[in-house]
Point group: C2
Chain length 113, copies 2
């Protein structure tokens, strides 16, 4: 579970994988495994949230890190690199960008209903 808000001390990675539909589930599973075995043990990790597009062609990882430096250190970690390379091989393209939250609707309704 993660919270999106403007007052959190995090940097957000939105990583969009374009994928062929027959590989979508495998890629999602691999990202979950990478999160639970490698990423969540690294310094500055806050959350990772894996999404599967309803049209079968995308997987998105919405992840939060404490600081840009923590994310950059992850990129240099050899176990993380191995997982990222496996994910890249399953995907057609990978588009990672780091973001800041500039607006989170204060009137938004609670989920889970």
């Amino acid at each position: 579970m993660a919270t999106i808000a403007t007052d959190q001390d995090v940097v957000t990675l939105v990583n969009v994988f374009t994928v062929s539909p027959e590989r979508q589930q495998r890629l999602a599973d691999l990202l979950v495994e990478a999160t639970m075995t490698v990423m969540n043990r690294l310094p500055g990790y806050v959350s990772a949230n894996i999404h599967r597009s309803l049209d079968g062609t995308r997987v998105v990882n919405y992840a939060q890190w404490r600081r840009v430096e923590d994310f950059e250190a992850m990129l240099r970690d050899s176990a993380a690199q191995e997982h990222m390379q496996s994910a890249s091989r399953l995907a057609i393209s990978v588009e990672p960008h780091l973001y800041e939250v500039v607006f989170a609707d204060p009137t938004s309704q609670a989920g889970g209903r």
Copy 2:
């Protein structure tokens, strides 16, 4: 504020706008305005969360709708269409996809520290 979790009754729109850096802030402002004047009054709206990439080249709207049908009804709403067209004109490309959350790390740390 929004929550990402697997047990919520929502469908998630991740809309990635590619933009020239000098137009990034204008596009983010326009999406905030569209959310507060049009989108959040439509049936099935749950949340919208606007993100600006640190490299200046992307704006992401991470939005939640109650059902796919609510999102599709929004696409047919004339005021929403007007805002979406203005956003498209500011962007180089627009990549909207609907998603389901397949994994939200249960061990994730709270934000805001």
